[in-house]
């Protein structure tokens, strides 16, 4: 049950970052296109997961510009660390965006005496999807023995460590994993069509 630190996942299919960075420094437009192809989906996914889908295209564009400009200024000193560099810039942008949101909210609070400046209500479609997903999960839970339900509630709702759940509920690690994987597989079966249709971070 110990969580092992993940090794960096690199293999022979990794792009030659040094060459790519060198081409970008030299203003090669095909290298820019290649970098956009490699990173744009991942940047979009990360930003969407952290900040939500609002103005996503603009945010991806901004991040990409920052990355390219800083490479061209020579700020990336170790080209082979391109992935880490991109991640750092994306995280900085996320932090800056959150900071902006907080400041905007403060300004709104200063101005706000009963008037609403922005819509705080969730997207109705997204709410409906979340409601449907919760219903699916409810069907999965209701189809399980009480003990399995308890295991899943402890893990997902109460966030108890797996070792504690196994100890207190007299489970082996394999039994624990099986309970989780069966429930997830069942959820996947029930929601298969929706999963395949909806991936919110896609453009």
């Amino acid at each position: 049950m110990n969580s092992t630190a993940m090794e960096p996942v690199m293999n022979s299919a990794d792009p030659p970052w040094s060459g790519l960075v060198e081409q970008i420094r030299n203003g090669d437009s095909s290298a820019l296109e290649q970098m956009y192809r490699i990173f744009s989906t991942g940047i979009r996914f990360y930003l969407c997961r952290q900040l939500g889908p609002q103005d996503l295209d603009d945010k991806v564009h901004d991040v990409f510009l920052i990355i390219v400009q800083s490479i061209q200024k020579g700020e990336l000193r170790e080209p082979e660390r391109l992935m880490g560099y991109v991640r750092t810039i994306v995280r900085r942008q996320v932090a800056a965006q959150i900071d902006d949101n907080v400041k905007a909210r403060r300004n709104q609070a200063d101005l706000d005496f009963g008037m609403t400046l922005s819509d705080h209500h969730p997207n109705p479609e997204r709410s409906a999807i979340e409601h449907q997903n919760a219903e699916l999960a409810m069907r999965v839970l209701n189809s399980l023995p009480k003990r399995d339900r308890e295991v899943l509630a402890r893990f997902y709702l109460e966030e108890q460590p797996p070792a504690r759940i196994c100890r207190e509920m007299d489970l082996t690690e394999t039994q624990f994993r099986l309970i989780k994987s069966r429930a997830k597989a069942r959820f996947g079966e029930l929601g298969k069509t929706r999963f395949s249709r909806r991936n919110g971070f896609r453009s």
Binding site: S3, A5, M6, P8, V9, N11, A13, F39, T41, G42, F45, Y46, Q50, L51, G52, P53, M83, G84, V86, R87, V94, A95, I98, D99, N101, V102, R105, R106, A109, D112, F113, S118, H120, H121, P122, N123, S127, E130, N133, A134, E135, A137, M138, V140, L141, R149, L152, A153, Y156, L157, E159, R177, K180, S181, A183, F187, G188, F195, G200, F201
Partner: protein, 201 residues
Amino acid sequence: MYANCQVDEEEIERYATGAMPEGAIAPFEEHLLICESCQRRLAQTDIYVSAMRQASARLRTGPLKRGLPWLRFPRLVPALAGMAVVIVAAGLWLSRLDMGEAHPFAVDLAATRGAAIEAKAPAGRWLLLRLDLANLPASSGYRVEMVGRSGNRVWQAMVPARGSRADFKVPRTQPGVYFVRVYRPAGELLREYGFEVEGPR
């Protein structure tokens, strides 16, 4: 990009639930930037974890909700015992509804992103607020402040971090929109989350 990606489901679930060890987050996120397979799997895992949390929370509070209709129809109670039963049942109902600090309502603020406020909680209950601290500067604890919609502070405390998460209880609150602000102990504002406390319908 990665035809033979070897990241397993457990790893993705650990990241999605904020249980990934600090040292493993950077290599995982770097991989995530260029692996569409992992992006897809993480998106599905996020959906699954969120749905399981909501459904589990509903199941945990289920008996309370199922009890209410019975209490609303005292006509079903035999006439002679009616008043007594209603009084006893009402007493039980009130004692269960006022669950106090020992049984707070869990609110996961990890999914509150962007401008929309999606996390909801009932009024008149203690709340167990759960914050996702991933990507924040490391600290053994943070100062957390809860303010109302107009910025008036309603609660604050020092909250210890548990990995990339923090859980803490806040007392019963009135209906309304609230914001939870996370500060470094030194005072720097790091993050803000919103949630809505809903009044009875």
